[in-house]
Structures are given as C-alpha cells and as structure tokens.
C-alpha cells in the first residue's frame, strides 16, 4: 500500500513534531533550576549592604571584576563558542567601549554607565564592519587575522593624539565617599553581566543560535541547508563585540584612566578565550564558571607569588592543561558524562 503524503498529513507530522518538541522543552524547564541564578543575583544585589558594617571594598571589587569578565567571556562565547570562530582580538572591542565612553566622560562629564549601551553599539558596528572582512576566512587564518587586528589597533591607539596616544587619558573620579564609590559601577557591571548571560541564553535557544551551532559543526553543510552563514557569522561577531564593548565602557570609568597598554593587550583576549574554554565553550554557564575560576586563580597567583611574569606562566599552564585534558571545559565534560549538577545546567 502506497503511503500518500498529501498536504494534510504532512502538516499533521509537523504538528506532531512541534507538540513533541514543546513537551521536551517543558520537561527541560521543569528540571531547570532557574532559582539558582536568581538566588545568586539576589545575594549579589544585597552584597553592598555589607558596607554598613565595615569595609568590604575588596570583596566588591572582586565581584565587579568577575562580573566584567562574565560579561566579556559570555560575549566572546557567542562568536567563539556558538559559531566556533575563535578570536584573539576581542580586546579591541574592550578598548573601543572604554575609550568611547571614557572620552565622553572626560569631555562632557556624562557617566559611562549612561553611555555604555552606546559604546556597545559602536563596538558592534565596528565588529560588524570588521567581521564583514575577516569572517571570509576560518580556522587558523581567522585566529591569525584577529591577532593582526589587535596589533593594528594597538598602533593606531598608541599614535592617536586625540585620545591621548600611548599615555592615555585620566578620567575624573566621582565624588562619592570611598565607602560608596564603587557602588554605581558595581551595579552597572552586575546588570551588564546578567543581561549578557540572559542574552546568551536567548541567543542559544533561538533560530539564530541554532544556525550558529550548525556553522560551528560544519559550515558548508549549514550553508547548503539554507542558512545565510555570512550574515549569521557577522551578526555573531557584532553581538559579541557589543557585550565586550559595554563592559569596557564601565570598566574604563571604574579604573579612572584609559591607556592602550591596559585595554589593548593580548592577555585580555587570551583570558576571555581561557575562561570560555575552561568553563565550557558553547554553553551558557561555561563562561560564567570559567570567569569565576580564572579570576579566583589569578588572584591566588598574585597573592601567593606576586610577580606578573609568574601570572603569565600560570595562565599559560592552566590554558594548556585545560585544552589538553578538558577540551570540552568543565561544564561540557560534566554534561557529557551526565554528571552536570542541575544548578549549573543553564542551557
């Protein structure tokens, strides 16, 4: 008996599949520990209350520092993790964000917290334009081109007198008492980090994110399946630049000075790569876990051994060991073994 596949039965199949998918999604939602990130956020929001009882500036600084890296690593992950295009030049967008908002602050006195989204937007536009050019190549060539991009940007920033050249610019310090001086940046960075993680979750679960993952698996097949790979890749680049740029904007004012040798160093990019890979490239929770781990490790190295050279050596060793023994990262490895704790399953 021949099976006739007329219009109605085809749409019935599609309908049945959709129902099945929704059932799976509902099931995943039920097991998802949404309370966990929310609880963490609540604690972090309440954390500055500690300032009433004593001086916890160091703690706040560490949270702020971690949050900035959570935002940047999650942003990097959109291009590097979802789409599989590893960039070692993302410090360029960090610098663009920092300098754009920082210069506005220096000239017009508008806080970077207000202009951060604009800085992100500018970084995204620059990322879009650069992506149009560099995303023509892939694999090692793309990585090399991203390093070249960083080198070019460094020379330009070092020699651009308008933005202070190699000496950089000093930004005005806010007039809050020492105890509360960090608070605005603390909340701003926390908000940026939370927004980035949320956006990264949304992107991963959208058609766009599915397309990016297809590109990272096999770009030619993705293209022949009808995905506009070029547009997808360039958009991923722009989006990832957006989040890095926003974090850079607030970071500049928090630091109170802008200088190319702080923003435009390869170590900044390397840290983002390291965080994403160690935590789990292509997962939502990965860069967050990676950022927390690396910042803690960094702090440990600095506290116990001091010298920055040892820090570079340590970062390199952790990176090499992570790549060799856990190429999927912490979250990825645990997930593959089916041992990922429910609270860390944000995908």
């Amino acid at each position: 008996m021949a099976v006739t596949l007329d219009q109605s039965s085809a749409s019935a199949v599609v309908e049945a599949r959709r129902a099945h998918n929704e059932k799976l999604a509902r099931k995943a939602d039920q097991t998802r520990a949404t309370w966990f990130p929310l609880a963490v956020m609540a604690i972090l929001i309440a954390l500055p209350l500690l300032q009433f009882t004593g001086n916890y500036n160091y703690l706040l600084h560490m949270v702020l520092f971690t949050a900035s890296h959570v935002a940047m690593a999650s942003g990097w992950n959109i291009l590097g993790g979802f789409a599989g295009y590893i960039s070692l030049g993302h410090s360029v967008f960090f610098a663009i964000g920092g300098y754009f908002s920082g210069m506005i602050l220096a000239r017009y006195g508008i806080s970077t917290i207000v202009t951060a989204p604009l800085a992100g937007l500018l970084a995204a536009v620059v990322g879009y334009l650069i992506g149009m050019v560099t995303l023509k190549v892939r694999g090692p060539s793309f990585i090399i081109s991203s390093i070249a991009l960083l080198m070019i940007a460094r020379i330009l920033f070092d020699n651009w007198e308008l933005i202070g050249g190699a000496n950089g610019v000093t930004l005005p310090v806010n007039d809050l008492p020492v105890q509360w001086a960090k608070i605005p940046y603390y909340y701003a960075m926390l908000a940026i980090a939370a927004f980035t993680v949320w956006a990264s979750y949304k992107i991963k679960h959208s058609k766009f994110g599915l397309g990016l993952r297809a590109i990272s698996k096999d770009e030619i097949k993705a293209e022949s399946a009808g995905i506009d790979t070029r547009f997808y890749k360039v958009m991923a680049f722009a989006l990832s630049a957006f989040f890095v740029g926003m974090a850079g904007a607030v970071w500049g004012e928090y630091l109170t000075y802008l200088r190319p040798n702080i923003f435009l160093v390869i170590l900044v990019s390397a840290n983002l790569v390291l965080m994403s890979i160690l935590g789990g490239k292509g997962t939502v929770a990965g860069p967050v876990i990676g950022a927390i781990l690396i910042v803690a490790l960094n702090e440990l190295f600095v506290a116990t051994m001091g010298a920055s050279e040892i820090n570079i050596l340590g970062t390199g060793m952790v990176m090499a060991a992570g790549l060799m023994f856990f190429p999927l990262g912490l979250v990825g490895t645990l997930a593959r073994k089916g041992k990922l704790p429910r609270v860390l399953n944000w995908d």
């Binding site: 590893i86 070692l88 050019v133 560099t134 023509k136 190549v137 892939r138 694999g139 090692p140 060539s141 990585i143 090399i144 081109s145 390093i147 070249a148 991009l149 080198m151 070019i152 020379i155 070092d158 020699n159 390869i266 170590l267 390397a270 790569v273 890979i277 010298a307 920055s308 050279e309 040892i310 820090n311 570079i312 050596l313 340590g314 970062t315 390199g316 060793m317 990176m319 090499a320 790549l323 060799m324 190429p327």
Partner: protein
C-alpha cells in the same frame, strides 16, 4: 638615489634575518599543519641561550648558533611529544594547536620573564656596532653577517629537503600525509623531526636576533604578527615563499619607516597580513586552499 639604495640594503639585510625567523614556522605548518604561535617566544629562548653564553664566556653569537639551535631542537622534541602528539587525532586539530601554541607562548614568556626579568637585552660583539662603508652607503656589519648566515642556513635547509631521503619524506608528508604513510613513511617520526628542525631554526634565528635586535621576553607578541605576515604571504609551508616574502616586506617596511615614520613601518607587516588573508589566503607560493 643613494638614499633609495641605502634603504634597500638595510631592508634586505633585515629581511634575511626575518626569513630565517619565519622559515621554521613555515616548515612546522607545512608538515604538521600547526600554526605555531609560540615560535617567536622560542626564538627569544634561543636569543637568551646566546646572550648568557656571550655574557659568561664571551663566545661569539655566530659560533654559538649551532649550540643554541641544538638546544632548542631538543626542547622542540620534548614539546612535541608532550603537547602536540596527542592532539593529532583531535577533530578540531588546527584550532586546537593554535590555542595550545598560544598557551605555550605565554608559558615561555612567563618563564623567561620570571628567570631573566623584562629588561631589554642585546648581545654586543664588536661587529654589531660596526659598519662597512662603500662610497656614501653604509652597511652595518652585524645585520650583513646575520643576513648572510641566515641565507646560508636556509639554502642548506632547502638542499636537505630537496635531496636527502629524510627531506623527501618530509616533503611527501607536507604534500599528502595519508599517501606518505601508505608508502611506508613513518609519519610520526617525520613530524617529530620536522618539529625539531623548526624549533632548531628558531634557536638559530635567536642567535642572530640576539645581536640584531634588542629583546626581552614579552617582545614575541610584536614578532608573531610580523612573522605570520611573512609566512602567510609566502604561502604557508613554502620555504622559498617565506624568503621572498620576508625580503619583500622588510624592504617595503624600510621604505615606509624612512619616508613616513618608524611607527608605521611595523604596521606594514600587520596590514599586509590582514590583506593577504583576505585577498589570497594561500599566499604567493602556496597552493593549499584549506587554510581559507
């Protein structure tokens, strides 16, 4: 006119050294498909070997060259066995190795920085600051000797690759790994050998670099994009291409440096790298579109 000739000479002499710096990188990519971002940091390793030998016993850098080269080659074997051999079966091999060599570069930088601090160093044998004068032209002896030595080494390397049995095997592996293996080439041994030669070339380049440039552990970041541009322009894996590209780019950079400003001469390399990757990713002499 004399000006132009002078710039040309300086550019070519530097180009010779840069060619040697890039040739090991090119060989390692050709045989193993490893984009060795740690190559410049290993060059600096070789430079430190030469520096300390000179400082402690006064031995001439050019005499020290074979020793530095052997030491670095031994380190290369070790690194390959420890880090890269196990990755050959990885699905994302080429990206994986780029990141691994990046991590290695940081480790080497951190180690050298921790041991020898980030002070600028330079080896200064008598000829490093001396020069020949021909009419109005002056040719710095250090750069001239370094250029000649590197061209000799590169010629020797090419002859080895072209005429020796091992050279055949290396070239066969470069062209087609599986086919070479089918014909009885011990590909793993060839990889170790080529990696050792590549890192040995880094050590040799380090000896020359030690008296041509001043160096410090973090300097390799400046060199990586420069060497990459030379190797990519030449076509990754092609030694001849690397030499031609090195001479070409360093002459252009010399002209840019004289006429526009020293800051912009390094930009030549970075911009060139950017443009080549986009316009002709396989480079001048390369025929392998898989890099794209």
């Amino acid at each position: 006119m004399a000006d132009i000739l002078q710039i040309l000479i300086l550019g070519l002499a530097l180009g010779g050294v840069i060619a040697l710096m890039g040739s090991g990188l090119s060989l390692v990519f050709g045989v193993m498909r490893i984009v060795n971002l740690a190559h410049p940091s290993l060059i600096i390793g070789g430079a430190y070997v030469t520096y300390w030998a000179f400082k402690m016993t006064g031995v001439d850098p050019i005499v020290m060259l074979p020793v530095a080269s052997l030491i670095m080659a031994a380190i290369g074997v070790l690194l390959y066995r420890l880090m890269f051999e196990r990755e050959t079966k990885s699905a994302k091999y080429s990206e994986m190795t780029v990141l691994l060599t990046f991590a290695l570069a940081m480790m080497v930088e951190g180690l050298l920085g921790g041991l020898f601090t980030n002070t600028q160093r330079v080896v200064s044998p008598d000829y490093a600051t001396d020069a020949f004068f021909i009419g109005d032209l002056f040719i710095p002896k250090g750069q001239l000797y370094a250029g000649i030595v590197s061209l000799v080494i590169i010629t020797a390397l090419s002859l080895f690759l072209k005429y020796s049995r091992l050279g055949y095997a290396i070239r066969a592996t470069t062209q087609n790994r599986e086919a070479a293996e089918l014909l009885g080439v011990n590909v793993n041994f060839i990889c170790i050998l080529a990696f050792a030669i590549g890192i040995g070339l880094a050590g040799a380049a380090g000896s020359l670099v030690s008296f041509v440039f001043s160096f410090f552990p973090a300097k390799h970041w400046e060199w990586i994009a420069m060497l990459m541009s030379v190797v990519v322009l030449g076509g990754m894996g092609s030694i001849l291409g690397t030499v031609v590209a090195a001479l070409l780019l360093s002459v252009i950079a010399a002209f840019v440096g004289t006429w526009i400003g020293a800051t912009w001469s390094t930009l030549t390399f970075f911009l060139a790298l950017f443009l080549i990757l986009l316009v002709r990713p396989q480079g001048l002499f390369g025929e392998k579109p898989e890099m794209a």
